[in-house]
């Protein structure tokens, strides 16, 4: 099935926003796929990191519905290997922040049982709260 993608003003605005927040020149991505190959969480993702970059390049806001940037563990494997020197972890963070800065949290800490929280080391709570809550 062929899907027609129209890159309108709205799309460009979204791309610009992500570029500004991440500081990365997203247009440079040439879709080589090394990031997807390096990502430890790729098996759980609905779209691969390369797909994510492509959607952002085209300014497709549907990318916000994906789980991909929330599954990112900020491991920087993609960053270390990108042949164009792009920092994909910053792009994922920018996409997360677009939601978080609207005060839309990704996790509700109340969903974790008291026992589970007790088991976790503080470092997990601190890191998780920073990336998933606003």
């Amino acid at each position: 099935m062929v899907e027609k993608i129209v890159v309108s003003e709205k799309n460009i605005k979204f791309l610009k926003k992500v570029q500004e927040l991440s500081g990365e020149d997203i247009i440079l991505c040439d879709q080589c796929g090394v990031c997807s190959g390096s990502c430890p969480m790729v098996a759980e993702m609905d779209i691969t990191p390369s797909n994510l970059m492509r959607m952002v390049q085209l300014g497709i806001e549907d990318v916000m519905k994906s789980k991909t940037m929330w599954l990112c563990a900020s491991c920087f494997a993609c960053t270390a290997r990108c042949p164009r020197g792009l920092d994909l972890s910053k792009v994922a963070e920018a996409l997360r922040l677009i939601n978080l800065r609207k005060a839309i949290d990704q996790i509700d800490i109340n969903n974790l049982s008291g026992e589970e929280i007790k088991r976790l080391p503080q470092i997990a709570l601190v890191g998780g709260m920073r990336k998933f809550t606003s």
Partner: protein, 266 residues
């Protein structure tokens, strides 16, 4: 004797409205009975929720507000700097910084712009300390938002008691109960830190849990008290008590007076 204060004569308005106009004209004046304006040497202007009032310079914020006609039904408690009810946020004229103070303890300054925060809608966890482990993980269980602290120091800046609030929250994060107890001891739970915290932490409730846990599990038990309790439980004083319980009223009086008169060397 209280003398009725003189108020300026309001301009004569239409019939029926003259009374109303007079009252409106009076509204900006001080309404305290029994004080002659002429005995006050120094006046300052304070702004309570945006409205200006001329008040004597030697009053506390709470007294000044009452001088201006406010009757406190909240934001007022012990009037002694201990209960935390009169938490006030104010800004000095020309400054951008917000300051925190207790209205009953702070003198007015010319041009301060203030509001009172009588209540903080703070989260309060329910816990049964008998069933909890003495561990920082327990505190995280009840207040996981403590992990959100970004060390911005806003809580410390908001404290009317000049406590190092950020320091005790950080002590809590690393499980240093004694540190929390030391730094939070003088907290009066006014709530200003919780209101301003960007991470929505309830600093004073966290500190209270920590102090309770420390008191229950962390402090060494007083050895003499423990020994005495053991002695009592072993029945060491049973006979003495039996004797006293068996005495009649006159006997007890005699024994008591004698005991009061003798000086015993312990």
């Amino acid at each position: 004797m209280a003398t009725k204060k003189k108020s300026a004569k309001a301009p004569k308005a239409q019939v029926g409205e003259s009374d109303l106009m007079a009252r409106i004209a009076d509204a900006n004046k001080t309404v305290v009975q029994g004080v002659d304006d002429s005995i006050v040497e120094h006046w300052v202007t304070i702004y309570v929720m945006g409205r200006a009032y001329k008040v004597p310079a030697t009053l506390t914020i709470m007294q000044a507000m009452e001088y201006a006609g406010y009757r406190f039904v909240r934001s007022c408690g012990c009037r002694a700097g201990f209960c935390g009810a009169c938490a006030t946020v104010f800004r000095r004229a020309g400054e951008y910084k917000l300051e925190a103070a207790l209205a009953c303890q702070t003198l007015v300054e010319d041009g301060i712009y203030l509001v009172q925060i009588p209540f903080a809608p703070a989260k309060k966890a329910n816990y049964d300390l008998d069933n909890e482990v003495y561990d920082s993980a327990t505190v995280f269980k009840f207040y996981p938002e403590v992990a959100r602290c970004i060390s911005c120091n806003t809580c410390t800046k908001s404290c009317p008691q000049d406590l190092q609030v950020m320091d005790y929250i950080q002590a809590m994060i690393r499980g240093d109960f004694e540190g929390v107890v030391k730094e939070s001891f003088d907290c009066i739970q006014c709530g200003l830190c919780a209101i301003r915290c960007p991470a929505e932490i309830v600093q004073y409730h966290v500190a209270q849990l920590a102090r309770r846990m420390y008191g229950k599990y962390g402090r060494p038990r007083e050895k003499n008290v423990q020994k005495r309790v053991k002695d009592i439980e072993s029945g060491k004083y049973k006979d003495e008590f039996k004797k006293i319980m068996a005495l009649g009223k006159d006997e007890i009086q005699k024994v008591y007076i004698k005991q009061q008169q003798t000086r015993e060397i312990y």
